[in-house]
């Protein structure tokens, strides 16, 4: 197939020459420039304006979050300063708390306390038992209620008034004691009947004390 460019040129020459005239008309030029402007705006909006505005929005959001966090931290700081002042004011009272709720079980001190009170109340301390301490493993489900308690049981003998006084001393002790039960009973002796009181309860301490072997104090008879 022969391609004669001269023949083709003469055929389509009028279109090439009229293209320039079309482009020079006012409506076409207006629409063309307006379209070009809108495309340029859209292009820069996508490529430049959008990332910039998003960055500004993120920074504004971050500033707002940081201001909120700063306010919360300031509130916390104020609370800590107030607590520090309170702690400094009550520093002398901390031994009282240590006596009321010691960190460890402190069962020797507790045993001494029972003996001392029995002597002061004029009753005879027959038996004193301390049961298991910290038997539950760390992280076990039942550790929260039982791991911080030292169970004890004691038997005292004496007159009713003295036993009552002994019980009152236990109830008003500085060490936190929870008396689970108190039971009176009478024992036949050679010289007559003797009134005994059996008390079971728990002494609290603050930290979990997990020991490999349960501690049991020797009975005092």
């Amino acid at each position: 197939m022969n391609f004669d460019w001269k023949t083709e040129y003469y055929r389509y020459r009028r279109y090439f020459f009229s293209l320039g005239k079309i482009g020079k008309t006012a409506p076409v030029r207006s629409f063309a420039w307006l379209s070009l402007t809108l495309f340029a705006i859209a292009f820069f909006a996508v490529m430049a304006i959008r990332p910039t505005l998003i960055t500004i929005a993120k920074l504004n959001r971050e500033i707002k979050d940081k201001k909120d966090a700063s306010q919360k931290l300031q509130t916390k700081i104020n609370a800590i300063v107030a607590a520090q002042a309170l702690y400094a004011r009550n520093l002398d009272h901390l031994p009282l708390l240590e006596e009321a709720l010691p960190e460890k079980s402190e069962f020797p001190r507790l045993a001494f306390f029972f003996e001392e009170n029995a002597t002061a109340s004029n009753v005879e301390l027959k038996t004193l038992n301390f049961e298991k301490i910290g038997v539950s493993e760390k992280g076990s489900s039942s550790s929260s209620s039982t791991a911080n308690s030292l169970y004890f049981s004691l038997n005292v003998a004496g007159d009713y008034a003295y036993l009552k006084d002994f019980t009152r001393r236990l109830e008003t002790s500085r060490r936190i004691l929870k008396i689970d039960s108190a039971a009176f009973s009478q024992v036949k002796k050679e010289e007559g009947w003797q009134l005994t009181l059996r008390v079971t309860g728990q002494a609290s301490f603050s930290k979990n004390q997990v020991e490999p072997k349960p501690t049991q104090a020797p009975s005092q008879k």
């Binding site: 629409f31 909006a45 996508v46 959008r50 919360k72 931290l73 800590i80 607590a83 009550n90």
Partner: protein, 65 residues
């Protein structure tokens, strides 16, 4: 019938600009809404209550050792 291509291009450019503006608006809106991660953990924001019942000490003093 003679087509006016310049008008069609103009309409397309208006649509393009509208979609672009909408896209930019949505981008800004979502950037303002979401926070990538909280500035503070709940542990850090937990406020210590500095209230203390100081009468407890007097009660403890009144109790015997």
């Amino acid at each position: 019938m003679k087509k006016n291509y310049s008008q069609e291009i103009f309409i397309i450019s208006i649509l393009t600009l509208t979609i672009t503006v909408l896209w930019v608006y949505l981008g800004i809106h979502f950037a303002l809404q979401k926070s990538e991660k909280p500035a503070l953990t709940p542990q850090e924001t937990r406020i210590l209550n500095p209230q203390l019942d100081e009468s407890v000490f007097e009660e403890l003093k009144a109790r015997k050792i």
